[in-house]
């Protein structure tokens, strides 16, 4: 199994470890609920070094990425970050990712750990352009610093004014005496940063942030990473997104630039947009007792009308809610449906999937 550079640190901190995408990763250090609350109220640091970094360099780097990415790459300014997907011809999703544009000849793709090999093969197999694609994943460590105190804390380690790194932009700056790439991005619904650097530098920064932050920061495992992204309805590949689910069905049309360069899957998505998707990701609230989980079927009377993609007791509200793919017209707010939990039908109602309002600093 793969280890990130912070593996020993997690073990020393007493984390409960689990296998995730081929990496031995921390699921939780204290408790998922406590870690979740720390990020919402103060600050948390996550080891996300398992994420993949694919580098595209050369005169036609921008053309290659625009050919694959649902969002507009040519229209991005240098130092901008954009979220979007790579799709198959039929509109199904290869992966969702962040695109970092240094310049039109230098672009970084940050992809899901579970999809690194697939994505790298996908990008290289479409490289009919004058540019070079390399998998840099093993060369970088990455941490996410998320929560209302993130900026104040990180500012203590750099002379660069972090106010200048606005929402979804990045800079290569000196942090804790080392050069790092810092973007104001994250996957929690809070303000915060994602920080990429050399392995030893990131390990050093992790320790320094925890020491400096004292009681106002905690290390956060993958357990709370999932509940945090879930509460703000951010999709997880394999749950809300897959090769069988299109970005439009997942409610991600904001990340599909139909008016920009042609990309693989555009025609299929355009057709789907014109006819309207037959289903979409909704929020569900459980009215009975229990917890609704990924994969449970959803019914309207005797008809199966969807499936749960992610479900939890939302740590902030304490309500049992879920994201689910629901066939129209059962997707309407207030629709009363049933979810089958271990063979028993339980009542649910369709609600807004915004279980918690994002607190981005835009």
């Amino acid at each position: 199994m793969n280890h990130t550079a912070l593996h020993d640190t997690h073990v020393k901190l007493g984390a409960k470890m689990t296998e995730f995408a081929g990496f031995d990763m921390p699921i939780s250090y204290t408790s998922i609920t406590e870690e979740h609350r720390m990020v919402r109220e103060q600050c948390g640091i996550f080891d996300v070094s398992h994420m993949g970094e694919i580098c595209v360099r050369g005169p036609e780097a921008e053309q290659l990425v625009d050919r694959l990415f649902t969002n507009d790459v040519a229209g991005m300014a240098p130092n901008q970050v954009t979220y979007g997907m790579m799709c198959y011809d039929d509109g199904g999703v290869v992966d969702d990712l962040l695109v970092y544009k240094f310049a039109s000849d230098h672009i970084l793709l940050v992809v899901n750990a579970s999809n690194i090999a697939k994505d790298f093969a996908w990008v290289t197999s479409h490289n009919n352009f004058d540019c070079k694609v390399t998998d840099e994943s093993p060369n970088f460590s990455e941490v996410a610093l998320q929560g209302p105190h993130a900026q104040t804390l990180l500012q203590q380690f750099t002379d660069f004014d972090l106010e200048q790194i606005t929402f979804f932009t990045f800079r290569t700056i000196t942090v804790n005496h080392h050069e790092m790439l810092v973007s104001r991005t994250g996957y929690t619904g809070e303000d915060g940063f994602e920080i990429y650097g050399a392995h030893d530098d990131i390990v050093e920064l992790w320790d320094a942030l925890l020491e400096q932050g004292g009681e106002h920061i905690a290390p956060i495992g993958l357990g709370a990473r999932d509940t945090l992204r879930f509460e703000v309805a951010l999709p997880l590949y394999g749950n809300e997104l897959s090769k069988d689910i299109t970005p439009l069905e997942a409610g991600l049309s904001f990340a599909v630039a139909f008016d920009a360069a042609d990309f693989i899957g555009k025609d299929a998505l355009l057709a789907q947009k014109e006819t309207k998707t037959s289903r979409r990701i909704c929020g569900l609230k459980l009215l009975d007792k229990g917890i609704i989980r990924h994969g449970y079927p959803v019914f309207a009377g005797n008809a199966e009308v969807g499936f749960v993609t992610t479900g939890y007791i939302a740590p902030t509200s304490g309500e049992t809610v879920a994201l689910a793919m629901i066939d129209r017209p059962h997707d309407k707010l207030g629709s009363e449906l049933e979810v089958e939990i271990r063979g028993k039908r339980k009542k649910v109602v369709v609600i807004s999937k915004k279980f918690y309002n994002k607190k981005y600093k835009k």
Partner: protein
């Protein structure tokens, strides 16, 4: 190191059984609650339902996932610990004090197939 209580019977699916006057009290072990993490819901069976050794009779939900509770014995569930309905966290706090169901045993010799504390300790390592 998780706690193991002497004198109880155990299963390799991490349930414990305490026998008193022909009745079996069934709970989950300290090892089980530790691996599950925060327990947020317990799905309890109805009283007066028949259970069979090796079959699930309920489920424990942690923040992250659901796991079945497997009955170590055959018999009839005569009492369920309904305190767990509102306070599932009791299973984290003291897993050996908070039994889940009380079963009227059909065949006490079945207990011989279960693990003792020492044998259970071996599988937890």
């Amino acid at each position: 190191m998780s706690k193991i209580v002497k004198g109880l019977y155990y299963t390799n699916t991490h349930e414990w059984v305490k026998v008193e006057d022909g009745f079996a009290y069934i709970g989950i072990t300290d090892y089980a609650q530790e691996s599950l993490g925060e327990i947020v819901f317990v799905e309890l069976p109805e009283e007066e339902t028949a259970v069979e050794a090796g079959e699930e009779f309920g489920a424990i939900e942690s923040v992250k996932a659901a796991s079945d509770i497997i009955s170590p014995v055959t018999g009839t569930i005569v009492v369920v610990n309904d305190e767990l309905e509102d306070s599932p966290e009791l299973l984290n706090e003291d897993p050996y004090e908070n039994w889940i169901v009380k079963v009227d045993l059909e065949d006490e010799t079945e207990l011989n197939k279960l693990l003792n504390a020492d044998e259970y300790e071996d599988i937890c390592e």
